[in-house]
Symmetry: D2
Subunit: 496 residues, 4 copies
């Protein structure tokens, strides 16, 4: 048998819960959605879906797996015709039977067909769901996003935008949502703007997307971010050009976007709320070098997430940056558990030490963060076996000591290394000669945000500080999405 | 290219809309359901599903295709554990995206998990659905059966049986339904008993099934038919034996079961409402010979549906019964349209003439019925080309001149041969030397039912007589299941 | 878990080793081959293949499974273009890795491309193979048929027909072979004509096929059987019409075709070497009634193979013929072993007793033959449980006491019931009230062949008599195809 | 429709024709082979195969696709048991029907089972094949590697090593081959050592592999490279340890390994013939900076192949190294051709410009080489659209003006940009402000090889110099593998 590539490693990553994309006013709209979702693939590899409206009927296709493996083929625009479309990518988990959770979710409601795609998490989804079921609602998925669909279906308002806003008003938490009705595409970002959403334009079409990289891939121009608490409605104007209107149904307040988008999630070439992610990450590394500098021979990034911070670190410290770890891009998903003797080889399926660069050297290993620490430990061991004289581990973000409830798939507190161990214990357990983290102040410096305002922090930085941006309504709300106590254990179906 | 086997031929068959099976009180209940559904496979080959309850959780598996291709494998009872289970087979149609219509349908409703499997058709399903959607219900399928699930979810009654009965009270038409909740299996047959349902027993377990052949395959004893308008509730008694209770929530009235079960649908080895299907069919042939006798050399059945009637005909007439048509059992589903020249060969993919028996002979061709007439015409042509001297076509049932709205998938009136042509025109179009049908009186004679009571007919014989057993609430109700005007054209999903 | 449908039952059948079909001179030749192979599907369901030549290049497609599941689709003639084509169906076995054994086998030999399809068995294939390997030949399959391909490749003759005949001259046993080269289709039948092959004509095209039913399906006219020891060569004449030439490279001798084609293999609507298979089988039943008559209430055929003999038996005896066993045509291939308690239900997946016809009756059960006896025993038990008063089993052929080495996949002597038990023991083991077999004389009578000539029997009847038509060169030659001692246990490949 | 990701881009890469791996003396040998092939996946993604010997029988599994998608699963060592195994990865091509070309190739030859896996190309394969076919050989593949198998099968020598050496003696060109017989693993490297092969050791086992990275992944120790013209034979010694013997059947001569392994093929963490590939590449960049320096603001590598050279370039020039191009690792294989309007977006499926780093900057773009120039042109255009002020393209190898015939899948001369255009024309066509190549002298300097010896060059550098290391026997030998004029156009088979 063969070492499992990644199960433990996968668990030792943070998972964004999705990317969304919408476009109105372009021929072959589904092509643009497919491209946009492909650019957002880093936000979720578990599943993907596209819903379109062709002027008469809706079409919806949802799949497990990657965009590039599913939304292709010469018949794509036949399968998904129309000038208006929305799409969704979903993060990777184990577990087979999840197709019915893949979005866009669709329903025929009394105002007509309605499709939604959601990035984020509702912190009161459990209570909402129980109430809905009590009054006779039948859920098709176990996803918290479906509450919004059910609430929209039950609204007594006439207009779809009013129905949708009424539904959103009952939900708490983080969201960037795009919806498709017969006449409209609606986008909404939660009142704090925790999850990102941007507006783009291409010819006559308007676009909504989680990140600017999804605009770049289709050659669209970046217009502006959707503001926190903003609802935008895109319709077709009389001249055949898409038009956009903006609403603030819950008034205005200060934004507090999730700082983890900069630390880990967003693609480095994206501009999130006005900041270049790549530049922020290099500045994290630069500041990290200043805060945790050490005598060393080489700076080695953990690929690919540690690369920009390692470049910043190397530049600030003057120590050469080297590719000390080679990443294998051909890792299959299904390598499985080996006999004990070669189990330790597992990490090498994905990473291998560049022995020539490591042997006899004092190595500074730079990664973006430490979550469970399991992968970090294996990488340290691999570097050690390649002959490093010293290993100094540097995290380009502060210790992660608090779980997230806003759409990041994160281990529970018990599994977060920094929530359970002192830095001395962590150093020992990782097997490194020294361990350093960027400070929260350093993080704000890298964001060019000045000092952190302790009363009204400029970012949702709760994973580092424990300072949650909203009241947490459900007890154990973080578990809601996972263990909603459904009667149905498994509903597996196939067309084979 | 290759001739299409069967598209036209398939259309020229009547399709039952399903078979149902339920069992409570047996280890590995899903195994028995799989066997029972296999025995009911003739009632539907489009899809099949099984839902079980294992004492803690529900499990549901639904597939397109045959029982024997899906509910097999050493892990079946792991996949579908429990001592209580229900199952469903669904009739064959073209059209890809139908998995979400395959039953059992399942929902978490406020009283807990609930699964239903339905054979029949609700004649007011369109009105019910519109009303439900108006008030915020979200449907997962386009099936009329889901109305009952939604109505049960919305009932304000406490007990599941009361909720279910309340739901059924709002539905009109024909049904044999089995349901599974945490503690109960519920079965119900519509007030006229249009669709069949029987009770069986095997050891400690009680069984419900569409036909007795599904009891035979698992070695269960036939107890009795469920009566028209009866609701039966199976629970586990304190001693570990299943117990059964009976209710008549809508009072008692005379039954009027569908006579087509005897003519075509039921398996010949089933006993339906006390009558051997095989014996009835032979008597139809016997009477047919008396009513339409003709000088002939051989009696040839159209296999397999015409075989019992042909035996009866031959015995009565004294003319030898011969296998003049050989059926090929290996027909793949996907043969496609040929060039014009060999298109006419299509029927031969499934049937071939046994030339040696036919050539130079006066042939009486016996089939159970004539629907569109397309297949009959092709078979006649094939027999003609094999050299028959004369061809006398005999239908073992009266002319089908009226569509069904109670769960038989039947062409519309415009496509029913006998609704549009005189018998003389039919004879000409079929290309036969004579054409004969069993009379309605003959049919009742074969049923050993005495005279047909014109005021209160003993059977639902509307396809022959136009005398429908219930008021037809939806205009064009027969179309309801097919063209419910959904916004969503296609929702195709896959896990590949 | 669920009872295994058929593993034991499948083993208790005789399996023909193939059907062949060839056509030259028709547009879209592959369509005709697909249809012809479909009609020959009863001769083999394991695999199927078609090779064509389009005037420039050869095309070859081979699949596991049924013709109708593989050689379909609008692109068939694009995939397999050309006016000359051959095809093959192969009998069903368990065992996964057999694709490379599926025919037509193809090779680029020095005279150009060459494809062959073979029905039969070479009794000296093991010796041939060892000799070829010794001199450097590399085999692609484990099939005995490949020896002919290798020998043809190595021939020093110039013309392809000469090469092929030289190759055949070294092989002993039974064969009906069709081959495709750039300019020719060649057909050959072994010197005794053990396996069948016929010539047909359709428009400008000539056809070769194992049985006449494959001519009927494409509307071709039956020309004549290929004679024993005849080689026919089809070419395109100057006027665009196919032309046929005939050779007897090994001279002429008396034919001795396999009598089992009449007893079991051939389709009832085929004419084999001038005799209607259906008529012969009815006569077997008629004679069987005379030889083994008994007082009874019903004659029940074991479907489908026992039907014609049962009709003959019923007619001769005057006892009514009834459908006492219903066959389920929807049996999936993969039902698996159940727990012991319901294992005995296995036979009911395929057959079910028509209780109403059986209960309290004295039943004569008619089948074509008894091989291992395992299925027969289960059917008897099922009939017994359905309440039969007496069961009289009748085999429409003599006891099978000797294995076949000429292309029938048959159990070894140890597994043949009649080779190991007296008729009294068989009666006891089957659990019947009486047991009767047709005599060898009766068989010849049914063939209208007069007396069996003990010195030069008119048929290959060795399974009943032990009188083999050729010398058996390989020791255990019957095993050759199965356990050729290959070094390679498994060569499994996939394109997934 | 959606832009094709990579068809053109894929064509604009060089493709190694394979990686090989062999191990003798380890339990679960196939696990090690799977891991080793995974580490060699960069040498070929089209197909992969493993053959093992379990002491009694051989096992062979071959698949299209990646190692990690095929050689996994808990049953791997059941499917491929044994302590001796060889494996192969094959480069990616379009074209469906290639399974029979995937290696190891296996044959039962007179000395027993024999499996081979080959990296390289025989320059006289066409002549060899024609000769073999003429004398009756039947080829199973269109691969040139099969000639060696056929020649080994035909050898009259007794011992397998002698047979194999005799076969190799008739073949010209480049090869690193590993073979498996019942008792031995044999490895061979061509007389010039054009393709790489190394020896490793792990516990009692000996290993052969194309690169050292395949030793690292299984924790094996690097012993030494196989020398040019060396044949090594691994057997099991009496004490259970593998033993290795070495032969030089064609005497000794100076080596001339392929310099392209350093430029592009080998993984950066491999040591090839004693040199660190990563270090050589950095030195190429360093020298490139010296030879082609230019005023600039940022050094941007074309990921991933240009990264080490860009690091060397940046270090030498003092200009900052930046991630100006982000690579998307989730590219599906099947994105297809878009409408013209968005076709140009194709390159962005795989690469996207990091606008923030590029806009307004003078950019030095560093890649390892320029082949057709099509991808380079698209990347330049993308960088231009991202707002670069100047673009200076630098190739870390000399212009490729001559095709390869030794196992690199390379465009023909007509498609090599540098074979057809002057550097000025190339600059114009690429749309860059300046264009620079490393000199051949610079390349040798980077190899630390001193001056290139014009009479006996130390490397096979023919792609840059036209100085081919062997006589080219077949006219158009480079085409041999591709267009061997087979009669059979397509042999597609499936088990579905």
């Amino acid at each position: 048998m063969i070492p499992q590539a990644d199960d433990e490693d996968l668990e030792d990553r943070l998972h964004e819960e999705c990317g969304v994309f919408a476009i109105m006013g372009a021929d072959e709209a589904s092509t643009y959605v497919a491209l946009g979702l492909h650019a957002l693939q880093h936000r979720g590899q578990e599943g993907c879906g596209i819903a379109t409206f062709d002027g008469e009927r809706f079409h919806n296709e949802r799949h497990l797996g990657l965009v590039g493996d599913n939304f292709t083929g010469a018949d794509l625009t036949q399968r998904l015709p129309g000038r208006a479309a929305i799409g969704h990518t979903r993060y990777a988990t184990q577990g087979a039977n999840i197709l019915r959770n893949v979005q866009p979710l669709f329903a025929d409601i009394s105002s007509g067909g309605f499709a939604i795609a959601h990035n984020g998490n509702f912190t009161n989804s459990r209570a909402l769901r129980e109430e809905l079921v009590e009054s006779g609602a039948i859920f098709q998925s176990t996803s918290d996003s479906e509450c919004i669909l059910q609430l929209t279906a039950r609204s007594r308002k006439i207009k779809i935008v009013d129905r949708f806003v009424e539904a959103l008003s009952q939900a708490h938490g983080a969201y960037a949502i795009v919806c498709l009705s017969k006449k409209k595409i609606i986008g909404a970002r939660d009142p704090l703007g925790i999850r990102p959403l941007v507006i783009g334009r291409r010819g006559d079409a308007y676009i909504l997307a989680s990140e600017t990289c999804a605009l770049d891939i289709i050659g669209a121009e970046f217009v502006r971010p959707v503001a926190n608490g903003e609802v935008v409605v895109i319709t077709m104007g009389p001249t055949g050009k898409a038009e956009i209107e903006s609403y603030f149904p819950w008034g205005r307040q200060a934004a507090r976007p999730c700082i983890f988008e900069y630390v880990y999630f967003a693609r480095p070439d994206s501009i999130v709320d006005g900041m270049s992610v790549y530049e922020v990450r290099k500045r994290m590394g630069e500041r990290l070098a200043r805060e945790t500098g050490v005598d060393a021979d080489v700076i080695v990034p953990v690929p690919d997430s540690g690369v920009p911070a390692a470049l910043g670190y190397a530049r600030e410290s003057g120590v050469p940056y080297e590719l000390g770890i080679i990443r294998n891009h051909h890792v299959g998903r299904t390598f499985i558990q080996p006999k004990q003797e070669i189990r330790a080889l597992g990490v090498r399926l994905k990473h291998s030490a560049n022995r020539d660069v490591i042997a006899g050297k004092r190595v500074v290993l730079v990664d973006d963060s430490i979550v469970r620490g399991t992968t970090s430990r294996k990488i340290v061991q691999m570097i050690r076996e390649a002959g490093a004289a010293e290993i100094h581990f540097r995290s380009a973000s502060p210790p992660i000591a608090h779980p997230d409830f806003y759409g990041i798939d994160m281990p529970t507190r018990e599994d977060l290394m920094a929530a359970n161990l002192t830095q001395l214990e962590m150093k020992k357990q990782l097997g490194v000669d020294s361990l350093g983290f960027l400070s929260v102040e350093g993080l704000y410096w890298a964001m060019q945000a000045g000092e952190r305002d302790p009363l009204r922090p400029q970012y949702s930085d709760h994973c580092f500080t424990g300072d949650y941006p909203t009241k947490l309504i459900d007890h154990h709300a973080d578990r809601a999405a996972k263990d909603f106590q459904l009667s149905l254990l498994a509903d597996s179906s196939s067309s084979s």
